[in-house]
Amino acid sequence: MTQITLNTLSSEIKDMDAAYSASGGDAAVLHNHELASLVISGNKVLNANGIEGIVLEPQETEHGVDVKLTIKKGYKISLPVHLCFGLIPEDGLQEINMNFVAEEDSAVELVAHCTFPNAVKIIHRMEAQMHVGKNASLKYTETHFHGPHGGAQVIPKAHVKIEEGGSYFNNFSLISGRVGALEFDYDVDAEKDSVCEMITKVYGKKDDKIKIMEKVSLNGENARSVIKSRLAITEDAESEFKGITEGHAPRSRGHVDCLEVLQGNAKAEAIPIIRVDNPLAKVTHEAAIGCVDKKEVETLMARGLEEDDAIDTIVKGMLA
């Protein structure tokens, strides 16, 4: 079934296309009706296109959009679903409420680009409920693109429930431009035989304030999870990472891994918390904060790079 909602706000579409391209996306995919896609600018739905197996129900609200996206039972969507959220003006509020459901035995990859190229005083708030059905697979990649002003307050919050045998992969990346303030808060409940992998990569600059909070509760037998965070914090930026994994069930396995690279006057804090209340569960953690590895810098300098270029190459590699 194909559902198409098109508003003919051509200049806004053009601006979002440009911003989407600047954030690394291919704007052509947003206009290809053989691919599922959703484009939201402020509180306007510029484009919504569902395909067979996907029900896409966007609803404009006063400050944003409520989105319900359902992958029907048994459908394996072979090509990614493209989502684009953004605000083109310098100021404003955008509130996105998302309800993603991957029904039993379905599989989908959602590729979201969030773009705020001119942000001076913007709030982007996202509240998400994600439900991964029995033996279903949901992969969610969110890439942010911000301008140079650091005038955005980005507040993504999600609760994810993974049913038996389901898998959930989340990859959040904010490395282009300056954000301002980020408060990332994801909470996952993982049931029997499920898999959860969450990766966050963030580059904090100037006086950015970065807060990452990720929690996985391994509730079911054999549930497995990895929380992996990579942060580069420079100049006067500050970061706080909290990664929590709780092992509540036999043979559940979890790992928290945080690596933060610090430069200039930046400040960073990393708090991995592991809790286990089942003797057959095992949860581990590692966290490191420090400067860029000296040997890596010197190796690249010995290949001819200047010191600053060597550090830049290493940091970009870590965040790639």
Partner: protein, 236 residues
């Protein structure tokens, strides 16, 4: 001379490496071989305090690591860096920027020369999921793409299985054939035997230089049982 915490680490190094010469540095653990390599590359904390460092007639002792690399000097570490997230193809291309860049075929050929399949390794990350031996080979491949005038190889065989020793020897010969001089730090007589010249190092001193086989034999028969650490030798 180079000292750290009041202790002299290098105190009698008189060494000359000729054009397109393979020169082995042999010595026991703690003799100062790696320190010598780091000093030649100009690493932080290894700046020498006395004496001169001449490369192609120019004193390079005050130059930074990058400046020395741009003159054609490079170093392969005994234990290579991990580089999380950096792809092998990007790492190999970095060294080649100074000599006009590399083609896709150059990258593949560099990997083949260190016995790694390009289709398997070119798009992998240097750090993650690669063994120490694989990273060592990739480090050597990065020297191939750089085409340096002087390649300093700190124990190029460490972490690589014995069966591959012959390939390392061949690789060192290839560096020479491609126009590089090679200063190689080694414990292996097979590598020393493939050298044009060897020097024996002990307690920060180059004791003697000459025929590689003679130096290797001297090391084996005289140095290993020696108690030189109790009575450090004097410079030759």
């Amino acid at each position: 001379m180079l000292s750290r915490d009041g202790k002299k680490i290098l105190r009698g190094v008189n060494l000359e490496v000729g054009d397109r010469e393979i020169h082995s540095i042999i010595g026991a653990n703690g003799a100062g071989k790696s320190t010598l390599a780091y000093t030649l590359m100009g690493l932080q904390g290894y700046e020498h305090e006395e004496g001169s460092l001449i490369f192609n007639g120019e004193d390079i002792s005050k130059l930074s690591i990058t400046e020395r690399a741009k003159k054609g000097i490079t170093l392969a570490w005994q234990e290579p860096a991990r580089f999380e997230g950096l792809r092998v193809r990007d790492y190999l291309a970095i060294g080649a920027k100074g000599n006009g860049g590399v083609t896709e075929e150059d990258l593949k050929e560099a990997l083949r020369k260190v016995d790694l399949k390009p289709e398997k390794y070119l798009d992998r990350e240097v750090g993650e999921a690669l063994s120490g031996g694989e990273r060592k080979r990739i480090e050597l491949a990065s020297i191939i793409t750089m085409k340096p005038k002087l390649a300093i190889l700190d124990e190029p065989d460490s972490g690589i299985d014995v069966v591959s020793l012959k390939e390392i020897v061949n690789l060192i010969q290839t560096f020479k054939e491609n126009g590089s001089s090679v200063l190689v730090i080694t414990h292996r007589k097979e590598i020393a035997a493939a050298s044009d010249k060897a020097s024996l190092m002990c307690e920060g001193v180059i004791l003697r230089s000459g025929d590689p086989l003679e130096i290797s034999e001297f090391f084996k028969n005289r140095c290993i049982p020696c108690d030189s650490r109790v009575s450090p030798p004097k410079a030759a």
